[in-house]
Subunit: 306 residues, 2 copies
């Protein structure tokens, strides 16, 4: 096989209490990429549609991720990468992660799968480093593995896949204002109170338990974040109103997707998710901000061949 087309999914990282360690993969939102072998021994970004992004491989997250893989493999194979970018950069739903993950997934397949999906994570993280100055894994891991990913440790890297309760749905609102991950990280306090941290890890432990037991109400009660959300939510227009509105319409929980400005409402079942989506649509349409609104199931398999 010399070329491959893949769907590279969007992801919701952090999920409130899981700041920097948890993420999940979306089903209906993502980029399409075409990766082809070339005979030039070079990694090239040959086409980008949908967004204006760097064409130089060393300045493009997909290029950087693929180069990291090829370097580790000591492979001289060249690749051409085409990206149909449907996830907006700076949206907070893993735009850079989708490109990095999609690219290393396809290259790995085209080379006969020298790496497992988990092994690909560290290469895709190099793309994240380029994008945000921080090689975080909580978007690229779920983009590659699907479902919910928990980053237990960065050094050494250890990522766990957690179960996906079948009725979970995500409503994601992307207000069309740009917040750079780098900027959104800089406002977070680097020291926190032990008390808040204890609440946070109590909630994260409960959230993990809820995924195993399919306890949707517990999942909702666990989606709390008293550390990062109070700071970052200030940057997101009408955050508190959206939170209340979503829960009033039956969402299990509500929070910031990644570093924002996207926000997510976690819902149980299609009907509930449709209600929440309609309420947000109605509310935000009356505001002065353009937006995109998605409804998605949880994607259990991650990047896929199309």
């Amino acid at each position: 096989m010399d070329e491959m087309k893949v769907f590279a999914p969007a992801t919701v990282a952090n999920l409130s209490c899981g700041f920097d360690v948890l993420g999940c993969c979306l089903d209906t939102v993502g980029d399409e990429m075409k990766i082809s072998k070339n005979d030039l021994g070079q990694v090239r970004i040959t086409k980008i549609t949908g967004q204006d992004l760097p064409m130089e491989a060393d300045n493009n997250v997909a290029g950087v991720a693929v180069k990291a893989l090829l370097k580790d493999l000591k492979s001289g194979q060249g690749f051409d990468i085409e990206i149909d970018k449907r996830i907006k950069p700076g949206s907070g739903i893993g735009s850079s992660a989708a490109s990095s993950a999609g690219a290393v997934f396809a290259v790995n397949r085209l080379l006969g799968e020298p790496y497992t999906s988990k092994e690909l994570i560290s290469f895709a993280m190099q793309g994240e480093f380029l994008a945000s100055g921080n090689a975080h894994a909580d978007n690229v891991a779920p983009a590659l593995l699907g479902g919910f990913s928990l980053v237990r440790s960065y050094c050494p890297l250890e990522v766990l896949s957690l179960p996906v309760p079948s009725e979970l749905r995500m409503v994601v609102l992307h207000p069309l204002i740009e917040i750079k991950t780098r900027d959104s990280r800089s406002i977070i306090k680097q020291n926190i109170s032990l008390k808040s941290a204890i609440n946070q890890w109590g909630n994260l432990g409960a959230l993990v338990s809820a995924l195993y037991t399919e306890d949707y109400d517990l999942l909702g009660r666990s989606l709390k974040d008293e550390i990062v959300e109070p700071v970052r939510s200030i940057l997101i227009p009408y955050f508190n109103e959206l939170d209340k509105l979503s829960k009033k319409n039956g969402a299990l929980g509500f929070g910031i997707s990644g570093s924002g400005p996207s926000v997510f409402a976690l819902c149980r079942g299609d009907e509930n998710a449709e209600n929440v989506k309609a309420a947000i649509q109605d509310y935000y349409s009356k505001k002065e901000i353009n937006f995109e609104l998605h409804l998605s199931g949880i994607n259990k398999s991650g990047v896929r061949i199309i």
Copy 2:
């Protein structure tokens, strides 16, 4: 029924990454208590053997816990409480929690079970408040519920029971030096770095996952605490040596039990636990400190009638 004898188990709280939210219940270490109705309308501590502890109900954790229950129930029933105290106070394996939990368990049964086991936790916490100035639940919850308990939230109180992998064993060393919970809490820093907190909640999430999947190795890797252990371990003689020794002999993980000075080695299977116990016995026997050493399975049911 007018009287009842119960076994009130010792418990290991915190379990490294689960500071203040996690605890588990031991099988072979605990107090025995006899609780009898009296016609005086008073709660009395009528006998304490094994240790020198307050006989006034208002100064005794069991008395305080029972009074909290009776007040909530608006019951005028009196009770006599006898305690055969086998868990040394200040040991770090839930000595006060055992008395509080055992007493409220028995009184609840003698009154026809007006409360569920989970509802009893808040009464037993009043005993913890008397003992340490902090109404924590991470000992009383596993003492009452058995197995592993996770405190998701204190306000409102929500405690989850987590699964118990069947081969888990605990080796507990109690160096006979006294550290008051109150003092041991006071040396903990009230502000911590966000980076450490992220590592901690990543590990706690993984630990919860490991309990569900019976992944013993993951359980071991998750038993890390870079927040409280580095401070508290200074108070425990030969902590680092014991840590290394336990792991060298095959323990999954090692940490401080509660606020210390007891330490625990979590092991897989009896043979492994016997090896770790023998190695600790041999090592500590050569030191100048008296000690007690326990090997126990995980008690899945908590306080029990004997």
